[in-house]
């Protein structure tokens, strides 16, 4: 046989690093049990008194009635549909109503039906969070941890039960993100992701803010031979489906305002008017003005749910800065910051605007914590199963949270007051720095020449390469003490050092978030006194 020329190509088939079949077979029941337990826990926590707590919001009635109008009246709204939001969200609510025997159906009244729908979506979102966390880190434990953070977030417990378009959009945004993390990333998954993001935008238009991050993620994760094809077809498909919204307005003769050249003389609502109105609601300085509605809400969110809001944002920063080579994690960080940037654009900011971001904050927090815990606790025998792994990360998360939130005090329940943890009206850069430093030192432990451990994408799925049985660690800065070959590490807090429990805001003490009707910002921006809520 003769060796002959070949075109030097790359391996076309990405390998899927998995464990041995025997091991998968053993662990599958335990994994299924763990996932089921987390989903049941999240649903139970959210479902407890779901139909009454905290109160029935007028927005909920709006969306449920619009969903009812779809099949009952063949219209997009019982009143004139004036393009406050794309109709995809209540089209799904309408579908749910059909499945459950009508708007009143099985659950007594329309909003109850809608809240049960939110509960079902929450179960689905929890599963998506578990799967996404697993994809991001290669570990089911991280996925479970993210789902716990997501499901037990006091902010989420408050808002996930409400019939909000944001909850529906968040589900589809998660689906779009997860599909792009498929391994290997096939073109069909790319297209499905584009469809999912378009559905998210059709559910609520704010989902469009994550489009750039997901587009870059598509380009980064696609196989080299399919990169261009994946990126451009994803973008085309996504934008095409989104463009059906203005096309719908055009076909209804309601794209342009009446009285203008293209709008005709017949008085009618219009999409451009709707967008203009949305953009003009409660404009202020946004992120550049510390007295803006954005900062008021941000501080409030941070005080009520510091773990997810502050911790998640710090984790997003770590994703952007420290794990740039991991496309999934780094684009998760960019996704979070692009959403924050949108919230801080200087427009209306309401209490529930954080809802779509919540699962991503939980994912960032869990993924970074997980990787930090792995980097720190590498000497501790692993492969103890997801439950042990989650417990270990919870301990690490608690300690990280303690170091980033030094004050044990909690928000005093007054939405307008300051978070004692912050120390001032503006976010404490000092505490962020501490958190950042902690995470950074956990993540960037550099190995001595005797160890080749490194952080790689999907490192959890493949054996960590070591040349010695027990790697030794060197901290990145002189501030941490060096420990070589010992069980304790310099950067990750040891469980024994965690003396105070991590702070969770209890439901009873959590004040309901500022509602649209009570919000000064919302009243400023509302153009009419119609009984129908047009907020959110």
């Amino acid at each position: 046989m003769t060796t002959v020329p070949s075109s030097g190509g790359t391996d076309l088939i990405p390998r899927r690093p998995t464990g041995s079949p025997q091991r998968r077979g053993r662990t599958a029941p335990l994994q299924i049990t763990a996932v089921t337990a987390v989903v049941v826990l999240n649903v139970a926590v959210l479902g407890y008194n779901a139909l009454h707590y905290p109160y029935l919001e007028n927005d909920e009635g709006t969306y449920v009635s619009q969903g009812w109008a779809v099949f009952a009246q063949g219209r997009l709204s019982p009143y004139t549909y004036f393009y406050d939001h794309p109709p995809g969200g209540w089209l799904q609510i309408a579908g749910w109503q059909v499945l459950t025997g009508g708007a009143d159906g099985l659950f007594g009244h329309g909003i109850a039906s809608g809240r049960i729908f939110m509960l079902a979506l929450h179960a689905g979102s929890t599963l998506l969070v578990v799967a996404t966390g697993r994809r991001l880190t290669g570990s089911l434990g991280a996925g479970l941890l993210a789902a716990l953070v997501f499901g037990l977030s006091p902010y989420g417990i408050e808002f996930h039960r409400r019939v909000l378009l944001d909850n529906i959009a968040a589900f589809w945004m998660l689906a779009a993100f997860l599909l792009l993390l498929s391994m290997p990333l096939r073109l069909s998954r790319v297209w499905l992701s584009a469809v999912a993001l378009a559905v998210a935008v059709w559910s609520k238009e704010i989902a469009v803010t994550v489009l750039p991050a997901l587009a870059v993620l598509t380009a980064r994760r696609a196989a080299p031979h399919a990169r261009w094809l994946s990126f451009w077809t994803w973008l085309t498909l996504c934008l095409s489906l989104i463009s059906l919204y203005p096309l719908m307005a055009l076909l209804r003769g309601e794209l342009f305002p009446y009285g203008e050249l293209l709008g005709g003389r017949r008085p009618h609502v219009s999409l451009l008017c709707g967008l203009q109105w949305q953009a003009s609601r409660s404009t202020d300085g946004g992120i550049a003005d510390f007295g803006s509605g954005f900062w008021q809400n941000a501080i409030h969110w941070a005080s009520e749910d510091p773990v997810v809001v502050v911790g998640g944002t710090a984790a997003a920063l770590a994703c952007v800065v420290l794990v740039r080579r991991d496309p999934g994690l780094s684009m998760l960080g960019w996704l979070i910051f692009s959403f924050w940037l949108f919230l801080g654009r200087g427009g209306l900011t309401l209490g529930f605007y954080l809802v779509p971001l919540l699962p991503f904050l939980a994912l960032a927090l869990a993924a970074v914590t997980w990787r930090a815990a792995r980097a720190a606790g590498d000497r501790v025998p692993r492969q103890k199963g997801p439950v042990t792994a989650v417990l270990r990360s919870v301990v690490a998360l608690g300690c990280a949270g303690r170091s980033s939130s030094r004050s044990p005090g909690r928000g005093n329940g007054n939405g307008g007051t300051l978070n004692p943890q912050m120390g001032s009206r503006r976010p404490s850069t000092g505490s962020r720095r501490t958190s950042h430093r902690t995470t950074r030192s956990s993540l960037t432990c550099t190995c001595t020449p005797t160890s080749t451990t490194r952080t790689t994408p999907y490192s959890g799925l493949s054996p960590r390469p070591t040349t010695t049985g027990r790697p030794s660690w060197t901290p990145p800065s002189g501030r941490s003490s060096t420990t070589t070959g010992a069980r304790s590490t310099t950067s990750s807090p040891h469980p024994s050092s965690c003396k105070t429990p991590r702070r969770w805001v209890s439901l009873s003490s959590a004040r309901p978030w500022t509602t649209p009707d009570r919000s000064p910002a919302s009243t400023r921006g509302c153009p009419s006194t119609s009984a129908r809520s047009i907020l959110g």
């Binding site: 003769t2 060796t3 075109s7 094809l229 451009w232 096309l247």
Partner: protein
Amino acid sequence: MIEALVAAVALGLLGHVLLTLWLMTYTWNHPERMAATRGPRCFRAPELGFTVLLPARDEEAVIAETVRKVAAVRYPSGLLEVRVICHADDESTIDAARAATAGCELVNVSVETFGGTPVNKPRGLNVGLAVSENEVVCVFDAEDDIHPDIFNVVNTVMLDEQVPVVQGGVQLVNMLDRWFSIHNCLEYYFWYKSRLHFHAGVGMIPLGGNTIFLRRGLVERVGGWDDRCLTEDADIGMRISALGVPIRVAYDQEWATREETPVTVGALVRQRTRWHQGFLQVLGKADWRRVPGWRRRALALFTFAQPLIDAAVMCTLPLAIVGPFFGGPFLHRPPVYVALLSFAPLYGLLLQMVTHMVGARMFARDFGLKLPATTLCRFPLTHLLYQFLLGAAAVRAVARHLYRRTDWEKTEHVGAHRSQTVPVCQAPGPAVEGPADVPIPSLPSAASPRLESDA
């Protein structure tokens, strides 16, 4: 009623566009199929004898160069047998072929002539088959640029995998000659790089017109080529498939045979009409019904009914174009979802166009060609025109089929692809003869062929 018609047409067109898109991008969706249908990374010693059939008519401009290309392959000349087949009245081609064969290094090469009717390619192939004897018969067209190692590839595949039929890759490369050339090139690119792998996965492959390799016994068993069929290649492929014989696709762009696009719009339409008509003939012969397995039969039906589908698409195109505006604010207003649905085919077309544009870039990169920005700028317009031409050719083919006009519309060749500066195809070295351990000159990219093979 009119709304239901608009919706049905829109859904049908959308389904067609999406299915076409799926097949176009199949290989990027299933890279493992491409890896499985790749050719070998290292070659066996030459063992099989090949008969090269070169049917030619009015090809005096290109036949001499083609013979030289065949003579320059890296395969022992003792194992090669070349038959150039011409009709007796085509004296200029005969003279050119004889001049070329007289000066080449091959020991077993001849120009065969035949008289009478029909005067077409399958007739020439049958004549060539009768006057040759090597155990593997391969077909090339008179304008083909074949890769110097193509026989090594097929020799290895046939011996290693014990397959009696191998389909190699074919690619048009002169993408900048005419406005439609790039679209024609892309059709070949997506067919051979993607769709053919889908067919290989299902197990039903309509053979292409050239770069096909068949065991002589198999060809004789199915009775040779049907000289009344306008697509004799697809027809013999179907009859072989009906026997349950596996067909192996060995595609690698490096080894693809290079060809040229038709020189005029008329030639393009005539060529496409002939293919469509040939497919309708194959559909009518019903050999595809004997192919084992319902999936293969369904794929065969879809493949050979393509002219009918294209003609139907062409006929419903006016409705698809008018439909969206019919639902607009200026005319009668149907339900908004019907109006939205009527836009679906246009969106599908947009997605297909973007895929083609990306494909143009990938094609240029794969074959080392330069893609000017102006070509990309006018791409959307020319793409629409090209699709219109294909639809018109389908309608023409159906009409000709109904009127039973089955004369062979010959495609002119001028050798435009040979003026392309395509760097992938290395200048052929001397033919290798002798024992297996003689090293074959390797390309610079072959740093670790074994690793590629093991991957």
